[in-house]
């Protein structure tokens, strides 16, 4: 008997005669209402991320200011990132084509991405490797991540995000910069992922 058959047989024996249970979902499910921008902003800030609100024409200037303030000269820009948003930046845009090695990614000053969904209640941004986001390593290895979020992408809560996302895509949920609480439960920002997360909300 294979271990697969053995385990399944043990499970079936253990469950003989056990009644099933009803699942009631008496909690806030996906809502029709969009996520509150102010709440999203506040919750992202709670994680000690940097947040800016800008209007669409102001994005290019804000991107340029942020990169300059950071001193970022070479930044990875995934395919599909809107070109106008980069127009004012005084930095070299590095493409991931052909794919950069992990060492190459470690050598750039930062990464610019869009996102798939953002969650107001938890201050989370979700990347799904879609246009402007690239593969998962791009938003991981560089020490600085600048993410542009459109207000239409902001949903109210976790159930809304789950409903919008496609599970077949590789997903990364990001809530603030990388952090640890392993030393006396003191929160320290910045371990292996980007130590600085900056979020631009385009209104």
């Amino acid at each position: 008997m294979s271990s697969r058959d053995l385990i399944l047989a043990r499970v079936r024996r253990a469950l003989a005669g056990v009644p099933d249970v009803e699942i009631t979902r008496a909690y806030r499910g996906p809502s029709e209402r969009p996520g509150e921008i102010g709440l999203f902003e506040e919750r992202v800030r709670d994680y000690h991320a940097v947040v800016h609100l800008v209007d669409e024409p102001g994005v290019a200037e804000r991107v340029a200011l942020s990169l300059a303030a950071r001193g970022a000269r070479r930044v990875v820009v995934p395919a599909g990132f809107p070109a106008p948003w980069l127009a004012a930046a005084d930095a070299e845009a590095v493409a991931d084509d052909p794919p950069l090695s992990a060492a190459d990614l470690g050598a750039v000053d930062g990464v610019l991405t869009t996102c798939a969904v953002a969650i107001a209640e938890t201050g989370t941004i979700v990347l799904d490797a879609g246009p402007g986001q690239g593969r998962r390593a791009l938003s991981l290895v560089p020490d600085y991540h600048l993410c542009v979020v459109r207000t239409a992408q902001i949903v109210a809560g976790v159930p809304d995000a789950v409903a919008r996302l496609a599970p077949a895509r590789p997903l990364t949920w990001i809530s603030g910069p990388s952090a640890t609480s392993d030393i006396e439960l003191n929160r320290v920002e910045g371990v292996h992922g980007p130590r600085t997360l900056e979020v631009l909300i385009v209104t």
Partner: protein, 471 residues
């Protein structure tokens, strides 16, 4: 049947381990500070969710329904992962899981692997097993790194190095990092930020060059074949995305039926666990993501035995959040090592004896490592009634003979009201002779309790004499 292995061999019974831990004032200070901090954080983010009770009830029901249909969901998970280009392996026990993983690593030709913190791989003692095959496993979670470098044992599910303070961690880093790779900086201080930075530099190169990673998973979605890992530091993302081969060892109880079920558990787990609205990073992938080779090892290792137990099976709902450890007055004082298993605290006290059996003195003592105050049940995000399971397990553990003799005597006396009346009369007359402490093996009872004072007459005698107070 062989005894299920749980990461460490059963040692001395809990009371002796706890007594030793209680004498360590540094440990008590560290634990008290840490558990109090995290309790307050959890309480505040749980209070913020207006529908917490509804989420908890749904979490309980989804897990219970999943366990009730576990065979069906495991087969569906296997189909979905395979359809997405992954490979699924089944391991009946720890030895088989270790054999499978060692074989998979060997097939890549690599001798080094990076690891994401995982309870399942700790449970099966994977690192030690790999070492026997000439494969070195590097722990990458900061707390696991502290434990590994210090040649120590984890003492908490979420924060395995909770028993260490910053000064101890600095010493471990300064002394042992060099033996495992990049040494700690010369001028390393005990500032948590400096310690985290040292860990970042120590592991950076390893992440960028290692070709094989091993992880566990918090959830595995049967419907879609999606694996979910929650973490904070980014070491998980490093391991899950950069290496060419990824091997995930996952207990069979980690499966969830549908993608939608994540809307419940992605709220329950971070708030219960780290006390955050959301943990910094959650990775989700389905099968061979971005061209990676993916292997899923489904682990039984005693779980089907627990599933067969009518009362105890609810322990399989556990999502390893560790909220029950943080509120437990016994854990707060005794610490994790006293439980002699990778699963400490209240959940460990019901999981360990069920997985490992009650053959050892330690495992028989674990159901008693609780005051039954019920705080664990109250904070459990999937409503595991830990006190009830503890009581059920106590009834199965063989009690010490003085206790059994005492219970038998009490049973005999209480069986007939005449016997009770005669004993009460005798006790009333001999009340002045009642000792403060009981002799011989009964002294265990009066070591920590006062004997109640004997009244001159019993309530029944008083009632008869006064006709219920009317005379």
């Amino acid at each position: 049947m062989s005894v299920t292995f749980l990461g460490m061999p059963p040692t001395r019974p809990f009371p002796r381990n706890a007594a030793r831990a209680l004498r360590d004032s540094q440990l008590r200070f560290n634990l008290r500070k840490a558990t109090r901090t995290i309790r307050a954080r959890r309480a505040s983010v749980v209070a913020e969710a207006p529908d917490w009770a509804g989420l908890r009830e749904a979490g309980r029901a989804i897990k219970e329904h999943t366990l009730r249909n576990l065979d069906r969901y495991l087969v569906r998970l296997e189909e979905a992962v395979t359809a997405a280009g992954g490979h699924v392996h089944w391991a009946a026990d720890a030895a088989e899981a270790n054999r499978i993983v060692a074989g998979l690593v060997k097939a890549t030709g690599e001798t080094e692997v990076v690891k994401v913190k995982s309870m399942a791989t700790q449970e099966i003692g994977l690192n030690e097993a790999l070492l026997e095959h000439g494969i070195t496993a590097y722990e990458t979670d900061l707390a696991e790194l502290i434990v590994q470098l210090g040649d120590d044992q984890p003492s908490h599910i979420l924060v395995p190095a909770i028993h260490r303070n910053r000064a101890e961690i600095r010493e471990i880093f300064a002394e042992h990092m060099a033996g495992w790779g990049r040494p700690a900086p010369e001028d390393l201080t005990d500032d948590p930020a400096a310690l985290a930075e040292a860990a970042r530099l120590h592991l950076r190169e390893r992440f960028l060059k290692t070709k094989v990673a091993i992880s566990g998973a918090n959830f595995a979605i049967a419907e879609t074949g999606t694996m979910v890992v929650l973490e904070s530091e980014g070491n998980g993302r490093m391991c899950l995305t950069l290496p060419r081969t990824l091997i995930s060892v996952v207990g069979i109880e980690k499966v969830l039926p549908t993608w939608r079920d994540l809307e419940v558990f992605l709220q329950l787990l971070p708030r219960s666990s780290t006390g955050e609205r959301m943990n910094p990073y959650t990775s989700m992938w389905t099968g061979a993501a971005e061209g990676q080779e993916f292997h899923l090892v489904l682990l039984d290792n005693g779980r089907t035995g627990v599933l067969a137990d009518e009362v105890g099976r609810q322990a399989l709902r556990c999502i390893r959040c560790s909220a029950c450890l943080n509120v437990c007055p016994v854990y707060e004082r005794a610490g994790g090592h006293a439980y002699g298993s990778v699963y400490p605290g209240p959940i460990g006290a019901i999981l360990t004896p069920q997985l490992r059996g009650m053959g050892s003195e330690l495992d028989r003592s674990l159901p008693y490592a609780s005051s039954l105050c019920g705080a664990c049940y109250e904070v459990c995000p999937v409503a595991i009634d830990i006190p009830s399971v503890l009581v059920d397990l106590r009834s199965r553990a063989r009690h010490p003979w003085p206790e059994r003799a005492g219970m038998a005597a009490a049973g005999w006396v209480l069986e007939r009201s005449g016997r009770l009346a005669r004993l009460q009369r005798a006790a009333g007359r001999l009340r002045r002779l009642t000792p403060r402490r009981l002799p011989g093996p009964l002294a265990g009872w009066t070591d920590t309790r006062d004997l109640p004072e004997m009244p001159e007459e019993s309530f029944r005698e008083w009632w008869d004499r006064t006709d219920g107070g009317r005379r």
